[in-house]
Amino acid sequence: MINDTVVELSRWQFAATALYHFLFVPLTLGLTVFLAALETVYVVTGKPIYKEMTQFWAKLLLINFALGVATGLTMEFEFGTNWSFYSGFVGDIFGAPLAVEGLMAFFMESTMIGLMIFGWDRLSRGQHLIVTYLVALGSNLSALWILVANGFMQDPQGAVFNPVTMRMELESFTALIFSHDAQAKFVHTSIAGYVTAAIFVAGVSAFYLLRKRHMELAKRSFRMATIFGVLSTIGVITLGDALGFVGAHAQPAKIAAMEAMWKTEEAPAPFNLMAWPNQEKQENSWAIQIPYLLTPLLTHTMDTKIPGIAEIEASNALRIKSGIQAVEALKILSSNPSDAAAMAQFKAHEQDLGYGFLVKRYAPEQDVSKATDADIALAAKDTIPDVFAIYWTFRIMVGFAFLMLAFFIFGVIYSLRNDVENHPLFLRFSLWLIPVPFLACEMGWLTAELGRQPWTVYNLLPTWMSASSHSVSYMVFSLIGFVSLYSIFIIIEMYLMVRAIKQGPDDHHAVQKQDKNTSSGGSVLGGNYAPVHAKTLVNEQSKEV
């Protein structure tokens, strides 16, 4: 028997750990590429300032990278620990991109980042540049494979159910990796990372420009970041539209929720610029509409019909009835794979198998063959995700994207005129903008994954069935563990990041002083060090800042 509370807690845990992980990923994706651009300038011009810039931003990258790697481990574990039915059911397809990610991308990224940091004196300029490019490539290839896996959850391509092994099996690897959802989502996410890095670099540079410190580094970084950012933001908005276009075909319920479209409207449908969705009454309490805009925006045509939520729900009820037949046949096949009648029944209703699973949650004793019409109606209602949350997370993400676009355009104008340091208000604004891309990324994740509900694999496997059969106490234990560990981590990370930023790039002498202090105790390895008390040193530094 599946326990509702355990499923709910598993969802919270996964969402919390994934959102947390996703705080660090975008910056890594973008900053590695930005470093490649910086080092390119260094190698071409040979100006030491660009080496200093590369090393400084690499230092900040590394603080972020450590937590990204650490929290990424959690994600790889959690499919097995908390979503074991899911893992068994689609592992044949879903596991492959994760394994390839390790083989192709993560190994390269991790090995090369060690060389990038430690190899300055041991590699030639050209070699080091290649290493930096490989770090950028590696981190983005990591994202590629993860999003191929995610693309399968959103729009399962290239897989087929095998009743003999009772699981989804891979049919076409190329269909899996070239699925439109995976393609658009990877590029959208990767470029969102570029935007994040650009805002981050611009914001930190603005901080120095405000304080009139490290001007050479800050002005150059600001210039490169705004150009990097303005192009990336245009890209991210474009790909966002592409993703909506793909979703309109693959996930109609998600799109309807993103646009709060309860009833099917005649094409071209109006666009809900602002609305207050009410899930219970299946209507918007109020809405500001722009007529005719939604259809061309989503489908790029004027006459394609976009199904509303009510229509989707009604057609899903029919699929659930058919799916029940498939589940019943499957149960017979599980103990006797050669039962011809059961196989015939299964084949006839195979495409609705997932919908049959959907009713399990509401059926008496969780047995789908006992499901009543009332249970089926409940399950059909369940196929509509949380419209309010999706509508608004999506709106906030888009709003932030345009805010950042406007910011970058101003940034480019000021920077090209080379007088950005004379606009303190704008610089202060840049600093305040740093959290925005991170929030926008989180909102994007929420839109994509809340919109996928109630499925883990769209139309195939309900979230409710996917979770492991744990006890509630296990879940409480792990949740407490994650919350407390992750809270400590973020505090340390933020402290170190702020500290490294305040310290700035000219910290070579400061670091040397620190090390002398900590090596007191007479080492066999080096010469004599005058012990200095640690506390005084920390004070010195904070005064410096």
Partner: protein, 377 residues
Amino acid sequence: MDLYLGLKVLWWLLLGVLLLGLAVMVGMDMGVGALLRIIGKTDLERRSMLNAIGPHWDGNQVWFILGGGAIFAAFPLIYATAFSGLYVVMLLLLWSMIMRPLAFEYRSKIPTEGWRNIADWVFLISGALPMIIYGAAMGNMLQGVPFHFDWDLRSYYTGSFISLFNPFAILAGLLSLALAMYMGATMMVIKTEGVLAERARAAGSFAILVAIVLFAIGGVWISMMPGFVLTHSVDPALAQTPLTQTVELVKGGLLANYKAMPILWVIPVIGFAGMIIGGLLLRAHRPAIAWWFGVLAWVGVLGATAISLFPFLMPSSTNPSQSLTIWNSISSETTLLWMTGFSAVFVPLILWYTSWAFYVMRGKVDAGKIEKDPHAY
């Protein structure tokens, strides 16, 4: 031979290679972590130890991630059943593995004694605990794990968390920790100088002695334990679930494969030889070769375990007939083919650039450099 059967066997061997890579590369870093407080007395000594593995630990850790990913892709049902069944243990493993990268990156960034002391404790825990769990998990596989399946292959674990730490599992855990400490100590002898290297040599010699004793006790213990035997099953070359076979518990069954093919005794002998010769070479000031004999010791220990279990991977102690074998927990032919292709291309590539990275960063750790380099661990 049938292609699917061939792929199944190949991926069973590759799983072994991955677990070996994990044990050797991650285990070595873990061993260094566990020894950090023991052989590193001053902060600079400890930093020397950390910087010796500093440029590579990140790459080495990928073995762990790759191991998880490959089990997911090639043995999804093992991944699902083992990771969810051993929930608490897996989380402890995970949490200690998460703390380690942070201790690495952040330890030297804050120059207070208290902070670094905390970081060193984190290294100790995150070095010792994962290796104990790694070994204990193997120990539990040999004994069988209390789980069963529903008709739709939903798995249920019915044991308690504490029962995973039974005496045999603890023995296996300590064996894996001892081997990891030996590998870590050997690497320290290669990478550092003076008193630090001497202490590492002593620690490594002691660890390998412990490993020899534990491996011997484990062997005797296994000969007395009941083992699992397939009495009725679907043709291994066919796709199947664990719901269509019967399995019985037989006394001494864990040695059945050795009895059937006595040549297999070579594997545990290799394990002993690796440990003994490795230990002697370490004392004879030949740490680099000693490290490679340590690898051989791991080959022997993991190989002996795999042979005892074959064809099982994760037997069920409560419902033996639903035990997971190579044949019924593996991925489909298409997936295995693709994965084989990717491995054929990328594993040589990984080995090539990993050795290049080691080559670039070759030589002893320069204590003076650590002082100056703001990026040093």
